[in-house]
Symmetry: C2
Subunit: 324 residues, 2 copies
Amino acid sequence: MRIVALAGGVGGAKLVHGLTQILRPQDLTVIVNTGDDFQHLGLHVSPDLDTICYTLAGIASRKTGWGRDAETWNAITELQRLGGPGWFRLGDRDLATHLERTRRLSSGEPLSQVVREFCQAWGIEQTILPMTDSAVRTIVHSDQGDLEFQTYFVERQCQPRVQGFEFRGAERALPAPGVLECLGRADAVVLCPSNPWVSIAPILSIPGIRAAVLKGKTIAVSPIIGGKAVRGPAAKMYLELGLRPSAVAVAQHYRDMLWGFVLDKRDVQLEAQVRELIPRTLVTRTLMQTNSDRLHLARDVLDFLQAKEHDNLGDRARKAAKAR
Amino acid sequence: MRIVALAGGVGGAKLVHGLTQILRPQDLTVIVNTGDDFQHLGLHVSPDLDTICYTLAGIASRKTGWGRDAETWNAITELQRLGGPGWFRLGDRDLATHLERTRRLSSGEPLSQVVREFCQAWGIEQTILPMTDSAVRTIVHSDQGDLEFQTYFVERQCQPRVQGFEFRGAERALPAPGVLECLGRADAVVLCPSNPWVSIAPILSIPGIRAAVLKGKTIAVSPIIGGKAVRGPAAKMYLELGLRPSAVAVAQHYRDMLWGFVLDKRDVQLEAQVRELIPRTLVTRTLMQTNSDRLHLARDVLDFLQAKEHDNLGDRARKAAKAR
């Protein structure tokens, strides 16, 4: 079964990591948000690509949700001593990724090629694609003005009230080489439990990608559980945009493009409402705290996609989820 | 006594460090070679400025002659794992200097201002000036073509045979703010035991600096001892340019601008020859292996500059040198 996953950072990385433990490497492609990419200290930083790649390479920090394990912080400590900006925490090993990426981009390599070569170096066998090789920047319209995403997210710690989003440059961007091809070949598309507003929407904003996802057998896994985001500002964003954050709101968000929808068992009381929007649902444990959680959710997602009778599968998965 | 020292890397840093232990901070200005500066990994690297500053800040590596003490190498190790260039060894703490310098230069700060602010952060009270805020690049003409200095020096480890030097951009460069002023006010100028070809010559190539040095009471300390450079390619360069490397060759190099010359006691047999070029000489221990060596040479140099009768001073210093 050939799967394409659309992913942002941590939630996406966890589910993708689960999928890698079941699928053959050649059967999984991940299309990653690059709307969060930004220039910092003259370096091209790609937070979501790095989170996905570090996770699949087994070198991601388990503690922070970003950056690398066994990290040291000597460069940033000294940089701050010199009066430089320390708000974006760059570890010493992580810095190498940004330095080498920047060097290659400056020499004219497209981002997708840099990612491919980094994946080889890190021993990642799955195909990881940036959504685009073009510069697309997520801008957060807020009560504090238009903010670059990392300024909103890291420097201001999501404090500004969100009024809307813009994916600057998207209208002129092209999908990265391989993106439309893999979507066209996929047996199914998975919208990972990433932030719908700032992780999945930027990917879908690239001309051609939404249409390809619409054509596919596409499911989404809700990143909202019990009215809250597992991490990040997704729930706060729904609220500030006048929407009640819930699995229903996420289903509403994606309804026109979904074959099926996965929600957490804690939200089982919302299943009927979701079904009014998307008839096929799977209720299971979606919270991924352990590696076993990642694997089980990936298994449930793949079973759901393969099931003839979604209801039966839903019941089976529910039982399985109850047993663990 | 107000002293201006012209310095390159390690040898210069050692003598300057000795001088800082005797002179009041406001009485010492160091004009540093920036012809070795280069762009690497998108960063502006200033090897000589960093060697001088790290040494005066007490954070220089004692082992390598470049870089910082208590250094870690995680970024460069990971960079190489990604296929990036590892020939120029950048430690994690050292990287911070280059990142923050590059950030400030990109925002329009002149190099001299960056250096001044870094010195404040590092607690350096003496005035450290780059020779210029302009881009001047030392090019080594060699049997392997025209090479940027760091390519010749680090990447090719001084293997190419030298045919000449060029300080590209020097003719249009301006001395950094303060350079001519401090030379004009100085009681004496010290050409440190740095490489005459690629450390001192680039400084003197900046329009106005040579003339100011000529006007001053200037001495040089030979970087060649017993026909060899203490470190670096100075002796090899003399040979390849058809000159016998010795204190005499160094004296010849600087003869038109010197009030006095300092040579090592191991070269005492050359003193007569040197005196034919420069009548005032001081023979003493110039090799700086310990901190005490740095202090003693600095003391000898200052005594030499203050002595009425250089011969007597030469004898006294010789005796002092013999005693240690």
